[in-house]
Symmetry: D3
């Protein structure tokens, strides 16, 4: 019986016993080191995906791997852009390679069910490639029952929850960077890391339907947030966490069995 | 004066004169070789991005580069999945490298303004990485005014057009694979390549908010379409083309100047 | 029964039926975007390999994949050099990766016989590497009967044909860039894309038996052609096409069976 | 003035102010996810390099970047080998790419002094390559004063400290995996993560002067430790930390100035 | 004054003096480890390119770098094929990377003129890519006068020499693997490594104008030679060496100045 | 029966017979092109690993592959640093790829036992990665009994030998670059390549316990040696060779059987 859901806090002998049950399930939280406005820390994305993974792991009897603390380049239409100070990103090659390597290692241990819980929008396609390469290689090498699942946690926020969290109407995920969603979750999970007195209050960013290279700093509000977090509360964060946790647990159970 | 907008049909001497004006603008259409149901050909994505690019090029005095005919792996939530027959895809590494190489070559010629016109959803992030690497390298090498733009054509369909094309309500871009949007555009642009007698008519696919590896074939309708193209017409295609063309021309002009 | 030899014009359901016969054969034409003098377009190499593939496909009941429109860097001793405007090339890495990926996809579909029909001299070794990697990987992964063939179309021009096409004597393939061979084929296949009034007439280029880096522009005639296309005629193009088509069909049949 | 030494806990606006001083110094702790016997958790290496970095950062007015939680493959002669359950490692390519990317990002922010604090023996050469590539690229791109430093923390344990920590004689760093050094540091820094009741007590591993592929599991003691941690105490950990901290601060100051 | 032309036999201090003259010229011989029939050793290609380089270096006051002893995969149409025992080859990636790295190092030392002397047909395009990448990077990094030259030694055999070496007519370079050319040069340069009593005598191989994957062993004569070396003599080898040496010296001088 | 231990001097037919016995064993010597002071040539590392391999091969009935003449970047703490003239190094990528490729080729031939004999400290981890990748791939591809061994020759010098070679006390391997060990071995094996009249005599280098980027030339003695070779003699070299040879033969026999 494991005494912690956090893989890095577990000893190898206990891990081996856990895996030997044949029911091992590992959740890999992925985030970024990315500016999130003046009121929240650079590590928000990994903190949230890790906390959500730990919560879901309780229900799933799963373990949570060390979070990917660096993510793909922040983009202006979802994260404010990679030109901003503090944002510290990986190239596609590095993120794909890391994903592939880590997933293959868990398969090697005997884990056959892996779920990557993404907390940074820009990561998704590179995680997808890493997972695709890893599962192909594992199966080509004889681990025929290796399976994986990839999700971004906000895709589990349902209409009902949106209505509560955004009583004035939900304007879309693209401008949620540093906004009500992330700030509410942080206020619930890590209130000591949020300083609402520094939260900006400005209209939502007017995002162009395309990207330019090099980035145009003028396209991102100076705060770094794409919308105002003013409506964020710990209570809304609690609701969001609960919704997301339930959805993820249901999805994983549905795919991998109980 | 160039006599064609199609770069592959132009001779090198005319091209050189065009570039020598200092006003050169190259559009690069990108697509895929991907199943699009029983009623449309495998090459739809490149055909559409190329046709849209050629139309916009008229207004922009631009040239259109040879289309990227192969794209990133089709995904179940946007293209039906890469497991289906006919879908012939590139890895992330290949698509990123191709994008970077081709863009750097146009910069080397003296072109300073490039726009990638994407026609395959799954490509976007890999085109982004290729463009980011190319523009960084060009600028590090002294081509300080090199600039590029990346867009997916459907991001220029406005609310007004959606209301006309989807009179019963628009259900989201994710299920538009092989549906009304693409089929209408094909009926307008390449009617001889569409066989509406083979068009499937089934409810929209019920897409899960996550991906699984390996893909689950049961998650994609057997037709390969994620929604019914039954409402597609050439007239709607004409409207879509007109809207998209106008939007792209406006975006490019706004960023790169007239 | 397929209604077109062109894969990009075929729908996925028809393709699947074609492959299900177990007799599927896919030809992949490869070319380049490369200057070909003032009288011919930049896309000559892909146009020719594609046309030749389509012709051979008729005899072989084969399908022709979307052409590789970008090729390896043009070299002074075979294509005038990569420094010239219009020439838009891939690095070795990108071409190898693209070849490997695309070939593996056709094997995945169930096609077991693939022929790459090369139309750009500089591509050959990189296509070779891509094919070698793909066939090894396919076989290591259990697709034991996967086979492929690689050819450059001019290697099928026989002595008899050379005597007719070059009545004053054949000076070697190396200087045929933009010369009589390619121009004749274009005059037969795509006469509307050739402007013989702009065809240069100068002595054959005096090629050094080595390469220099960076390229020395003075080593390539200003026309970009390595010999004069003055002797090109559509009739000679027709003869060349016929010879090459016959040779390729014979080679493919000999290796892969009828 | 920054309020935390931990970069992931800092907001981007404060970070920007810190960097704007021109005196920015970032420490990057690197570790691994690697078995460390039955008495210590899998995350020991990153926990120690992070704690040591945070301590040194106080003296250096530096920031500590998110730790690299995954490291290069564990080797039998320093970490027990990569075949053991729980050990979750990166390939050379992934670790080199991650190091290069992250270091280049800090240079981009305006930080000119970076120190990588390594906590996993097997990482060193790959961190070296990543740093070498990053510093070359930064300088080639115009950031002429970019500098970096690479160290492994145990290289700062002096003879005097060794005499105290290993009163019966020091047998060499190679067998210190899961032994007195790491266990003492953990007992001082994270006592709640150590369970001395599970600590193995066996003679030091008899390491061969070479490596074999595939690894021979019989060459590693079943505990996973290469020597007994029986002599570990929190007091010795405190001494070790103090020595290492002093040494690192002295080295960084000596190279980068005060 | 250097006392040897062989770089590996020279000490670093003498090398530095040599480079400091500003007239440094380094020749890099490249070969392969490849079967060459029963009468010649596996290392023929590197032995010949090295010996030719040393001879030319005398006339050019150049140094000869350690030979590349491994080359690209042997191909059936030029080297008998990579399936044969003893042939030990590199992938494209490895050969390109090695070439780029080594050339960049000589540029770093202050050498501005480099010539790669190739002795293995299959290497050429990969050496070309490596050189192209190296010269671009060197120049982008500020070494503006960096130049390189690439040649295969047999391209310097003139008609007059061919007439003497092949009195019954020259049948083409493609079948010269293990034949009269290489054997004659070895008989002149390394007679102790040739055993003419084991030399095969069979008709020239009938090479197909294409390649198949996987290779068809039946397409290569069982000897491994593509033509008979029966006509090889040390005298012919001496003539060949003299012709090639003269040609290479003339080419290098012509490009790089005296 | 093979007539030479040197693979490059052996013909392919004899090699095939050797491998066909099923007892084939190949040693791969690896070195570098690296400054070794004013008294020794640049090629020392490959010369020594090759000579040691040839000696051990006699006892083991093994063959010695062509040496890797280029190695990983020289580092200040073991080789004086890569900034020095003459040192000509590979990147991690190139060395890993070369190692993997070459090892896989020997497995393909039917050799099942390979030992890499390293002569350049900095190479070790990259050889390790190449071997790990090769053995995994060989086994995944069905060559289940493929095995390899990696060693650095100096790890076989025992205490007794050290006492004789360093009568005044041994100061550690890190400063042995260009010192008594290498010089003695060279005086025994290749006396004509050593010029003791140019041997420097200075105190051992005072090496810092960390690395800086870019390298600080002041940290390496101007001679390029990290300690004085004054005590080197051919007799000591003979003893060292004998000790190392015995140790390697014992290790290989112990792992691979007689």
């Amino acid at each position: 019986m494991v005494t912690t859901r956090s893989l890095e806090d577990l000893d190898a002998h206990s891990y081996q016993e856990y895996v030997a049950t044949g029911q091992g399930l590992v959740l890999i939280p992925t985030g970024a080191t990315e500016q999130h406005g003046p009121h929240m820390p650079l590590g928000v994305d990994a903190m949230l995906s890790r906390a959500i993974s730990l919560a879901a792991a309780e229900d799933l009897d799963a373990l949570v791997a060390p979070a990917f603390c660096y993510g793909y380049k922040s983009q202006p239409r979802s994260g404010g852009g990679n030109h901003r100070a503090g944002t510290t990103s990986l190239s596609a090659q590095a993120l794909i390679a890391q994903t592939k390597d880590v997933v293959l290692e868990f398969f090697r241990h005997g884990v056959r069910r892996i779920a990557v819980v993404n907390g940074h929008f820009e990561n998704y396609q590179f995680l997808y490639e890493g997972l695709d390469l890893a599962v192909r290689e594992a199966r080509a090498g004889g681990l025929d029952d290796s399976r994986a699942l990839l999700l971004s946690y906000w895709d589990f926020v349902d209409e009902q929850t949106l209505a509560v969290v955004f009583p004035d109407g939900f304007l879309g995920w693209d401008i949620e960077h540093g906004g009500v969603l992330e700030t509410s979750l942080m206020l619930h999970l890590h209130p000591e890391k949020v300083d609402m007195s520094r939260a900006p209050d400005h209209p939502p960013a007017d995002l162009a339907p395309y990207d330019v290279f090099p980035e145009d700093p003028a396209r991102t509000p100076s705060s770094g947030c794409l919308s105002s977090p003013a409506g964020a509360t710990a209570q809304r964060g609690e609701l969001l966490l609960s919704t997301v946790r339930t959805g993820i647990v249901r999805a994983v159970t549905s795919e991998f069995g109980k």
